[in-house]
């Protein structure tokens, strides 16, 4: 009787212990739920499949003869979180804003050819008139945003941001005051004007005030061939297409960018 009772209780103890062992085994075999989890959960997709429309101001940097202040328009579509195609347009609203270099240079030039001590010296009017300036700028580019993050200003204002590089086609429409050549022996019109197509590279960032409004800062270089002074550069005494050279046209822009749809997706 005692033996049977012992067997019964032994079986009962074993049955009660078994689930414990099984549960521990399950825990050992169980894969961590975070094993393949994304680096960031509940991430606000501020760019993915959203349109961006921006408007703002821009300025030339280290211009040689004419500063340019632009009114900018920017349209972009963010294909995913880190690839974007965009188009930009800028209209120069300060076409007569000369640089200090241009002003100092022109100050030393004679008013008329008769005043010139050397026949090769251009007059003030001809020198200024042949210098070209950016009238309009256009860009069509792809953007890559490898850097996305968050920052705190004064430990109070928190903003999402991204940093992108851009590259694509750029075009600059140059204008000048003169429509004919200021050089004495020219066989073509010296002021180098008209639409010049080249490359467009740069860096930019968005700092988001909220889910649909951001400050867009951009610095880009429009690389086009031109002759800024409209004068001879290769020493053959006249200005023509052989005097064109690749120039860097650095432009800084600050835009307010609106994102559509206004409510972004949030990841799992």
């Amino acid at each position: 009787m005692i033996k049977k009772t012992m067997q019964f209780f032994s079986a009962l103890v074993l049955a009660a212990t078994l689930p414990t062992v099984a549960s521990a085994q399950e825990l050992v075999d169980r894969k961590s739920p975070l094993a393949d989890a994304p680096a960031i959960r509940h991430r606000v997709e501020l760019r993915d499949k959203r349109f961006e429309a921006g408007v703002g101001l821009g300025s030339s940097i280290a211009a040689e003869f004419y500063h340019a202040v632009f009114v900018n328009l920017r349209l972009a579509f963010h294909i995913n979180d880190w690839i974007t195609i965009s188009g930009t347009f800028g209209q120069n609203v300060t076409p007569s804003l000369k640089t200090g270099t241009a002003e100092q240079l022109v100050r030393t030039l004679p008013d008329s050819a008769t005043e010139a001590t050397n026949t090769n010296t251009v007059t003030k009017k001809n020198a200024l008139g042949a210098m070209n300036r950016m009238g309009q700028i256009l860009g069509l580019q792809a953007e890559l945003s490898p850097i996305t993050g968050k920052m705190a200003l004064f430990s109070k204002l928190f903003m999402h941001y991204d940093v992108y590089t851009l590259g694509g086609v750029g075009a600059v429409n140059f204008t000048a005051d003169l429509d004919k050549c200021a050089m004495p022996k020219a066989d073509e019109s010296c002021p180098d004007t008209g639409m010049k197509i080249g490359a467009n590279v740069g860096l930019g960032m968005h700092a988001f005030f909220n889910d649909w409004l951001a400050l867009n800062l951009e610095i880009k270089d429009m690389l086009v061939k031109t002759n800024r002074a409209g004068q001879d550069t290769n020493g053959d005494t006249f200005a023509d297409k052989n005097d064109l050279s690749l120039t860097h046209n650095l432009i800084f822009g600050a835009n307010l960018a609106f994102f559509f749809p206004t409510v972004p997706k949030i990841t799992d």
Binding site: M6, T17, A39, E64, I147, A152, Y161
Partner: protein
């Protein structure tokens, strides 16, 4: 027999109790892991949601059944308590009381006639995490631009330009911006932004329009204002980038200078002009002591 039964009863009870007990031990894994994720992810933890998804071991019947009111109240209390816990990741880099030695190099970006390459260093002492006081010195190497060369060819003129020899300044730095970013959503890096200003001296020298003419130098009191950022790489190393405008009153060779004129007279007749020398520079910050300790445990 009865004694044997009574003797085994506690053991049976203990064995049966052990199963749910062990299962309960597994549960804390969930919030702990979620907190880990939140630290990396940085947004505030949303403890009201189920961060790990549905528990495959949970009883579906229990999930479907409407929860009893007391249970809901308890859950709400737990949520409220959890929402009081804010996860704040520690600063990844501490600077207070440390010295930064920064070799740097830069280039002027605003003068179309002459370019200056700068080589020098910064020595900053951090009074706190956001304030620093420092000394800066830079030696300049000049490079005439293509435009400067073309002025003679195109306009029959020689540009009046100065070269810079060196600059030194006492600067004060404030760091209002702190940020982090993920590179391709993989690597998380921390950085900071600063604004800085100071006062110092710049030595300049005229480049005479006639190369055989004598030159004179000017030591100009210089104010500077800059902004930049530091990317933390190691406990003792940062990558720095900055843009700084040095403003000073410079003296240029007078246009009225005649050959053979006494240099003192030339300097007396010099044309004064406020100049901006905007330098873009990069550097590496080396920190002493090379390591730091947090004051509170993690």
């Amino acid at each position: 027999m009865r004694r044997l039964f009574l003797g085994l009863l506690p053991f049976i009870g203990l064995s049966i109790w052990a199963s749910p007990g062990q299962a309960q031990q597994a549960a804390p894994n969930t919030p702990a892991k979620a907190a880990e994720g939140d630290l990396a992810n940085e947004p505030e933890p949303d403890l009201s949601s189920e961060p790990l998804g549905e528990d495959p071991l949970a009883d579906p019947a229990a999930k479907k059944a409407p929860a009893a009111k007391p249970a809901v109240d308890a859950q709400a209390k737990a949520k409220a308590a959890a929402s009081d816990i804010v996860v704040i990741p520690r600063r990844s880099f501490l600077k207070a009381g440390r010295l930064e030695l920064q070799p740097l190099t830069g280039v002027s970006v605003n003068d179309v006639l002459i370019r200056h390459w700068g080589f020098g260093g910064d020595l900053n002492y951090f009074l706190s995490e956001v304030f620093a006081v420092g000394l800066q010195g830079m030696y300049f190497v000049k490079e005439r631009t293509d435009r400067e060369g073309l002025v003679g060819l195109q306009y029959n003129r020689i540009a009046t330009i100065n070269r810079y020899h060196w600059t030194a300044a006492l600067n004060f730095t404030y760091l209002p911006v702190y940020g982090k970013f993920s590179l391709f959503n993989k690597y998380i890096m921390h950085w900071e932004g600063y604004i800085s200003g100071g006062v110092g001296m710049t030595k300049t020298e005229i480049i005479p329009r006639r190369s055989q003419d004598e030159t004179f130098s000017t030591n100009a009191i210089t104010a500077n204002l800059g902004a930049g950022g530091r990317l933390y790489v190691l406990d003792w190393l940062t990558f720095n980038v900055g843009l700084r405008d040095y403003v000073f009153n410079d003296k240029f060779e007078p246009t009225s200078r005649v050959p053979g004129q006494d240099i003192a007279t030339v300097k007396k007749n010099a044309d004064d002009q406020f100049k901006n020398n905007v330098m873009l520079y990069i550097g590496v910050g080396l920190y002493l002591p090379p390591s730091f300790n947090y004051r509170s445990p993690r």
